[in-house]
Amino acid sequence: MKERLRALDPYLMGPILVLMFMGTLTIYSASRGTVQSSIWLKQSLWNAIGFGLMIFVSRVRPNRVFNWSAGFYIAGVILLLAVLVPGIGKAIGGSKRWILIAGQTFQPSELMKWLALLFVAHRLGAKPPDYLRPMELLGIAMLVVFPMLLVLKQPDLGMAVSFLPVLILIPLIKGLRARWVALGLVLVSAFGVFAWHKVLKPYQKQRVLTFLNPDEDLQGKGYQINQSRIAIGAGGFFGQGFTAGSQTQLNFLPVKTTDFVFSVWAEERGFLGVLMALGLFGMVLNRILEIGRMAKTNSESYFCVGAACLLGLHVFVNVGMVVGILPNKGIVLPFFSAGGSSTLSYFLGLGIIMGVYYRAKLK
């Protein structure tokens, strides 16, 4: 056991454990006195299971993990397709995102982000160290776009967005000619215009519009963000105190154990708490990228960069969303928000990163 723990990077594990502790406290405070008041216990259980999963994965040699990545990818896609099968897939609030496993709802898209990253990192690592050729780029892009479209179909806009770093950043890291980057930009804008008119559902458009002008619609979609901003602002420098935030405790704050969990933290712990949490997130991202520098192979490096981007995007979009500078995407905050699928998926990713770290340390 001791040796197993040695595989873990203390500079990465430390901040993550602190963030998880903060997250669990916040969930406790946010769900106090509601029907879900034991959700913090459940989350602690997920964290513990995730921790075990991470240790197990970190002991597997990374080159093996990468070699199996095609199989994982296919398994992930099958799970994503299973969501669409009646009887297996479970719809909550009008979107089919979940499948039922042993009485627990599981969200395959959370896992798929990591599996897509793993497979793409593996494929790119196998390429010669030149610039990517157009057809190669297209092939890589298809690997990401296909699950992304499945996720959009659920529909889950926020989750689809979190595939973007894998789609855009990893090829960039690998190396792309400037003209392909330019072409890509044009294509993406064209797709954006097309998506706005043809793909996005009215509620998704509404979210974007609300972002642009949140005051327009105080009781509707903008209501959530407005209440969240009030909660954050009311926190002030020192915060209202643990379990003492009026916005949180009086339920003005919506979905406060998942999407808006950071508003609870900000209201009750104040700017000081926000500085601490964001500092810790910065340290986590920094350390993952450092491990990417130390990695033995290009694939391992790419995976670490992708993982940092994935995490960073979630932090940026969620923390930015609850304070009102980014649209209300319905995206969760890693290590803070309650949820089994995302917790396990993050620990899976962390396990691979720890494996990379361990192999680099061993030399």
């Binding site: 190396g175 009086l250 700017f271 290009n298």
Partner: protein, 627 residues
């Protein structure tokens, strides 16, 4: 690994690291803005939506009769309301709400608009007095419209239903006309007395609303109480009315229309006041059903009218006392002057009839027998202005001053009156005076002024101010503070003249027109009246009624003769001969009051208030207390 690529990769990772830190800094700046710069504004917003001021409506004062029997009480009722600070703005939402509540959306919008202008925390009541089904529906609506709330507020209960509807009146929201007339006096949505005693003594009865500062959750549910200022209930008020006597009067009118009033001769307090058909104030607390609208507003009998203070009746023979008074004071006759009744006599070329051939009578006999010829003779010797001046002197033309809203003044004609009232035919004809002399023609009296006139005779010339307000109970020591009515006005009635009138009234019951209503052991005195109907029923309904119009029956008087304690007037509409319809009511009232009423009435609040006027028992001096 390719060294060149490795160096590039290190560089690219460095860029991403920088980007990550930049992102963290950007977020920190955004949070610093909201949490440090916008802090006070956000805290204010948080407080504003969580901390609410709620009004606790104060219960109105309870109304008791003079013996401490509850006439009006309060009970707790649930109302669906919108708090002033939660008023909705979205017109579509208001329309949807109006549809759900089956209200007119325009009037709801107007109400919301009006309420928004009110300072303080008044409730906009959407539905009052919720029953179980209404409550379930209200709870359902509240889930959809969080700005709605359900509040407990006191609600009036009128214990006797129709027992004293006109005297008590009822409460309701302040009407827009009143708001416009006296700006600043009332608040929009305030519950005030709308009629009767509730209206005239609103200031005493209304309390001071309380305030509660509470913490609410996102659904507006109360989560914690911060501060409370208890409502101050309105003062408990005692009426001069005796509920038992009131019941007797009410029962006497069971089927007939009419009015009755009994006055306490010591201070002018109203012991009973009933107007038939009566009204049930409880019904006026709700939105009226179509059935009730028809019953109360479209009824030719006009039940909303308080006939005691607003009904103008031709007084018939009850008016003869005033004519006699005028003739005696003018010196046209002496008490022993006689006239001969042959059953009919011509005056000014027209034949006037009497209902019997009375022969030669003096004044006392003429009053007792109610001989019309005798009074025609007086009428032919008097000018109408003499009668009018006597009426002014003895208080018949002025409003009685009773503490009820919208009292109508009685009418005793004069030449001046004819000029103003009939500009097309302004001349007074002497023949008209003949009719006035027997209380017909243009003479119209309210029962309250008729009763007050007989009270004046009973008290040998004192004009009392009739009133319903008896007193209020002090909150601290529970003592009753008794209202002091204005001192009676002395009319200077000549005792000799009084003795004649008193003698006449005595004989009415001894051997005269009301002999059938004589009470053994009790000297009730009074005058019957039978007046041809020109009721106050308005012209539109007059033609419908006219085919079966019978005479109005009246009886006015006082008792007991040797030591008068009560005066009264009764009118039974279309009931025929006064002696057979109205006098029996007076008989029942006197029998109850003097013979059947419990010797010791219920202990009055705050100590000794009322001695028993009981003839069979020991005679306690009525002067023992001076209310």
């Amino acid at each position: 690994m390719d060294l060149r690529h490795s160096a590039l990769l290190q560089k690219r990772i460095g860029v991403i690291q920088a980007a990550a830190w930049l992102m963290i800094v950007l977020l920190i700046v955004a949070y610093a803005w909201v949490q440090l710069v916008m802090r006070s504004k956000m805290q204010e917003l948080a407080l504003r939506q969580a901390l609410k001021n709620r009004t606790t409506p104060a219960p109105r004062g309870i109304i008791y009769d003079r013996n401490g029997n509850k006439l009006v009480d309060n009970r707790r009722a649930l109302h669906l309301v919108i708090q002033n600070e939660d008023l909705p703005t979205d017109p579509q939402q208001i329309e949807a709400l109006a549809t759900a509540l089956q209200l007119d959306s325009d009037s709801l919008k107007r109400k919301i608009h009006l309420s928004r202008q009110v300072k303080g925390n008044r409730l906009l009541v959407l539905q009052d007095n919720l029953d179980e089904a209404g409550l379930a529906k209200a709870e359902m609506l509240r889930a959809r419209y969080p700005f709605l709330s359900i509040e407990v507020a006191p609600r009036r209960v009128y214990m006797g239903d129709e027992l004293a509807g006109h005297a008590l009146g009822y409460v309701g929201e302040v009407p827009p006309e009143l708001l416009a007339k006296e700006p600043g006096k009332y608040e929009i949505g305030e519950i005030i007395g709308r009629s009767g005693f509730e209206a005239s003594h609103n200031d005493k009865l209304k309390g001071v609303d309380g305030q509660r500062q509470i913490l609410v959750d996102h659904l507006g549910r109360e989560m914690a109480l911060f501060g409370i200022q208890e409502p101050k209930p309105g003062k408990s008020v005692y009426l001069t009315v005796d509920a038992g006597l009131q019941q007797i009067v009410k029962d006497s009118f069971s089927a007939e229309q009419g009015a009755g009033v009994v006055i306490d001769l010591r201070d002018g307090g109203i012991l009973a006041m009933y107007s038939s058909p009566s009204l049930d104030p409880n019904i006026f607390l709700n939105r009226l059903s179509q059935e009730d609208v028809e019953k109360y507003y479209q009824n030719p009998s006009r039940p909303l009218l308080n006939r005691v203070t607003q009904g103008i009746y031709p007084p018939g023979s009850t008016f003869k006392l005033l004519v006699a008074l005028a003739a005696l004071e003018k010196g046209i006759i002496t008490p022993s002057s006689t006239f001969t009744c042959a059953g009919h006599k011509d005056f000014y070329g027209r034949t006037f009839r009497c209902d019997a051939v009375h022969g030669t009578l003096n004044l006392v006999q003429a009053i007792a027998k109610s001989c019309d010829i005798y009074f025609y003779e007086l009428g032919s010797r008097l000018d109408v202005d003499d009668i009018h001046n006597a009426a002014v002197k003895y208080g018949l033309t002025e409003p009685s001053g009773i503490d009820l809203p919208n009292e109508v003044a009685s009418r005793v004609p004069s030449r001046e009156w004819k000029r103003r009232a009939k500009p097309k035919d302004p001349k007074w004809y002497a023949g008209e005076t003949i009719s006035v002399a027997i209380g017909q023609g243009a003479v119209g009296l309210t029962p309250i002024s008729l009763a007050r006139f007989y009270a004046m005779i009973a008290t040998k010339g004192k004009l009392l101010t009739p009133h319903l307000y008896y007193g209020t109970r002090n909150e601290d020591d529970g003592q009753l503070q008794i209202f002091q009515p204005p001192p009676p006005r002395d009319t200077g009635l000549d005792p000799k003249i009084w003795a004649t009138l008193d003698e006449g009234l005595y004989n009415v019951v001894q051997y005269g027109t009301a002999a059938a209503s004589k009470i053994p052991g009790l000297d009730m005195v009074g005058k019957t009246g039978t007046s041809q109907v020109t009721t106050f029923v308005d012209k539109a309904h007059y033609s419908q009624l006219s085919k079966h119009l019978k005479d109005n029956a009246l009886f006015a008087g006082y008792a007991p003769r040797d030591n008068p304690q009560i005066a009264f007037a009764f009118v039974a509409e279309n009931a025929g001969f006064g002696a057979s319809s109205a006098a029996p009511i007076a008989k029942k009232v006197c029998e109850y009051w003097f013979l059947q009423r419990p010797v010791k009435p219920l202990p009055p609040p705050g100590g000794k208030l009322f001695d028993a006027f009981h003839l069979q028992g020991e005679k306690t001096a009525p002067e023992a207390t001076s209310p």
